[in-house]
């Protein structure tokens, strides 16, 4: 599906389905240098189980036009603008990594538009390694290599993909290699400079799910403790995986979301 938000075209994956205005909406928001396809299995499931799914490509990512947005607050406002463009009154928001910060901020700013909130692979603050940031600033391929090496648990760096025949680290690498220069840097800066996380969490009124990876070194589970303590109505599920939890544990992520949205 394509809509216009401001001056730019925006793509959202819908599971190849037309929206049913009577069904609840879920918006999936990807992380740095990714696109909608990181939620392929989970978003497709909900699209065929009674929900309207919109797995967006953020500005400057995937099939969406424009430049990447420079901070989390702007991303949050952009999400609301997307809801308006897609005529979504109320949504469940699911965000991964950078996307988790964007949906957290959006839920705090516009509580009337967000019915539930799922934060996957999240941390507040979301630290970004200096070497990684420097490599991203230089558009050095090393930045992708560092992210890939840290995004999977040690076990999964050797494969064992639940999705038959797919080598998940190369998939993640190819996805990042597709982004235009400076996009990764912009995303990482947005993560690093976001300081409003706990304040936003305190302003979230809907129920929340935090889905954390026990072996996540990008956003370690312990780095989400403050968020857990601050969110009002939160359930926490910790999975045996790294940061790329939708690839490593696609069924466990789906089952946690199903339970949360039951």
């Amino acid at each position: 599906m394509r809509v216009r938000v401001g001056d730019y075209g925006v793509y959202a994956y819908t599971g190849s389905r037309l929206p049913d205005r009577t069904a609840p909406n879920i918006v999936f928001v990807h992380g740095s240098a990714n696109d909608h396809s990181v939620f392929a299995l989970q978003s497709r499931y909900f699209a065929y189980h009674g929900r309207n799914v919109y797995a967006v490509d953020l500005p400057g990512h995937g099939n969406s036009e424009g430049e990447p947005l420079r901070n989390v607050e702007t991303l949050a406002d952009w999400l609301i603008a997307f809801f308006n463009a897609a005529e979504l009154k109320e949504v469940t928001l699911v965000g991964h990594s950078l996307g988790s910060l964007a949906v957290l901020e959006a839920a705090a700013r516009h509580p009337e538009r967000v019915s539930r909130l799922a934060l996957l692979g999240t941390a507040v603050p979301m630290a970004v390694n200096d070497q990684l940031l420097a490599a991203a600033a230089a558009n050095d391929h090393v930045a992708f290599e560092l992210i890939n090496g840290w995004s999977f648990s040690a076990k999964r760096l050797l494969g064992g993909n639940p999705w038959p025949g797919m080598w998940m680290t190369a998939q993640a690498m190819r996805l990042m290699e597709r982004v235009r220069p400076n996009v990764l840097y912009a995303d990482l800066v947005a993560c690093r400079e976001y300081t409003n996380g706990l304040r936003a969490a305190a302003g979230v009124w809907c129920s929340s799910l935090m889905l954390l990876g026990a072996r996540d070194v990008m956003t370690p589970a312990k780095a989400a403790r403050d968020l857990t303590a601050t969110l009002r109505d939160v359930s926490v599920v910790t999975l045996d995986c790294g940061h790329s939890m939708m690839s490593e544990q696609p069924d466990a992520v789906l089952d946690a979301l199903r339970e949360f949205l039951r």
Binding site: Y13, S16, D35, S37, A40, L41, R44, Y45, Y48, G62, A108, A127, N129, D130, Q131, L132, V142, E145, L146, N148, G149, W150, A154, K155, L157, L158, G159, G160, N161, P162, W163, P164, G165, M166, W167, A170, Q171, R174, L175, E177, R178, L198, R199, A200, A201, A202, G203, V217, R225, D226, A229, T230, P250, D251, L254
Partner: protein
């Protein structure tokens, strides 16, 4: 409204409404000891994060895709000899069928043993994934039918395995897919053969049987200039000698029957996707409708929307393997995994032995031209040095001086070299292409492919090279007396 303090984490947060506005706050208290611990942890993490975590080729040959069996702890990959897999419930079954969950349904579509093999070859080639097929021919067929239908066109190297040539020249035209064959060394021929309906460029890393080295970077660049993918048959080289994706190829297939297996005990193929080709790029729009348009055969799925990097493999599995059915058997996949575990060791020995045999033949008066790219006189010597620094493989051809009868006597006098139609076995092999693998080709096509009546093809195995030289020496002597 109000605030709370969490003693476990030291964090405090709250929300207040003042003059009609909502104010939220949150802070966290860090004791000096806690701050010190955190700083140490951050420093340690930065140190450990100094370089990317990756695994090297030899490690991947042993481990990629495989984990100890979760049910039994078996270290070797089990042979999942089953047609189908039990669904936990009906919702789970429906989700598997509709690609909402990951897993196996039926072994024609996917199988856990085959999946380990697919991941392993993808890891070794640096591809996003792979599909194991019943043979190398099935892999080639799967690649083609995934991308095109009747009315489409392929540009292919003229120096192809005879079976590939048959498929392209005689069989596929019956289904409306035609091929123009070109001199692999002549980039202008590649360029001028491309038409609006062309959907694929195709060549072998080392052409059969003259070992023409495919200039992958230049042919790939030409293909990409025309928004076309390059498919490469890497059977003779395996990823240990060259990884075509590193040089710009988009798709790779192997007859895994050969060096990957290494023991001449199975028939199998592997098709690998680099994940780099942009099937839906604006200037390629409409060319690859199988991947970019809704597919009625799978809930109007648009494959490039489902997967940004693996649309080709999705369609190949959800249509090509499902409908044409040329899948690999789990036992075959198991044997292939055993073979790949020793690929680096075997390939090094294959190449080493081949160099010794080539040096021996080069000095023999009954031997004419030798087609081995490591020799300075080979037309692709410089290219081979660049693309194949570890060696030019273990299959090569040479011309036996003399009559057809002398050729027959040579082959029949060999004792260690087995006369058969295969390459890439641990044992040394020999064949006369003009009367066997390439016998369907016309004299003109043979000439264009660099094959003469006296051409002999060797596949050098892992025996002691002195024994191999002695065997060749005895057979050449017999041929000389015939």
């Amino acid at each position: 409204m109000g605030w709370k303090f969490d003693f476990a984490t030291g964090s405090s947060s709250g929300v207040y409404r003042v003059a009609g506005s909502t104010w939220a706050f949150a802070f966290r208290y860090y004791s000096p000891q806690r701050r010190c611990r955190l700083q140490s942890a951050v420093a340690a993490r930065a140190e450990s994060m100094a370089k990317p975590r990756t695994h090297q080729f030899d490690t991947l040959t042993l481990h990629a895709g495989a984990v100890p069996d979760p049910a039994t702890g078996a270290r070797a990959t089990p042979i999942y000899q089953t047609t189908s897999f039990v669904f936990p419930d009906t919702d789970h079954a429906a989700a598997l069928f509709n690609m909402e969950r990951a897993g196996h349904i039926y072994s024609r579509i996917s199988n856990p043993t085959c999946a380990v093999l697919e991941e392993r070859i993808a890891a070794l080639e640096d591809g996003v994934g792979a599909i194991a097929t019943a043979s190398g021919q099935a892999a080639l067929h799967l690649a083609i039918v995934t991308l095109m239908g009747a009315g489409s066109h392929i540009v292919a190297s003229r120096a192809l395995y005879g079976g590939s040539h048959n498929l392209l020249a005689f069989t596929l035209p019956r289904f409306g897919i035609t091929t123009t064959f070109v001199d692999p060394r002549n980039l202008d021929e590649w360029r001028s053969a491309i038409r609006p309906e062309t959907r694929l460029l195709f060549g072998e890393t080392l052409g059969n049987p003259g070992l023409d080295v495919l200039d992958i970077p230049r042919v790939a660049a030409l293909a990409h200039d025309h928004r076309l993918p390059l498919l490469v048959d890497s059977t003779f080289t395996t990823p240990w000698l060259v990884r075509p994706f590193d040089h710009g190829a988009d798709l790779v297939f192997h007859s895994a029957t050969k060096f990957l297996s290494g023991h001449g005990v199975l028939i199998g193929g592997l098709l690998v996707d680099s994940g780099r080709f942009a099937w839906d790029a604006a200037d390629a729009r409409g060319k690859f409708a199988t991947l970019t348009e809704p597919y009625p055969g799978f809930h109007e799925m648009v494959f490039v929307e489902e997967s940004t990097t693996a649309a080709f493999l999705l369609r190949a599995r959800r249509e090509g393997i499902r409908d044409f059915g040329a899948c690999m058997a789990p036992f075959t996949a198991f044997q292939l995994l055993q073979g790949i575990e020793t690929l680096p060791l075997r390939m090094a020995k294959h190449v080493d032995n081949t160099r010794k045999i080539v040096a021996f033949l080069r000095e023999h008066p009954l031997v004419g031209a030798i087609g081995y790219p490591e020799l300075p006189e080979h037309p692709d010597h410089a290219l081979a040095q660049k693309l194949l620094p570890r060696g030019s493989g273990a299959v090569f051809s040479f011309d036996l001086k003399g009559t057809r009868e002398q050729g027959r006597r040579f082959i029949e006098s060999l004792k260690l070299f087995s006369h058969l139609a295969n390459v890439g076995d641990a044992k040394s092999l020999v064949i006369h292409p003009a009367s066997t693998t390439h016998f369907r080709m016309s004299a003109e096509d043979l000439r264009k492919a660099g094959i003469t009546e006296g051409t002999i093809r060797l596949s050098v195995g892992l025996e002691d090279p002195e024994d191999l030289k002695e065997d060749l020496s005895r057979a050449l002597h017999a041929a000389g007396k015939a």
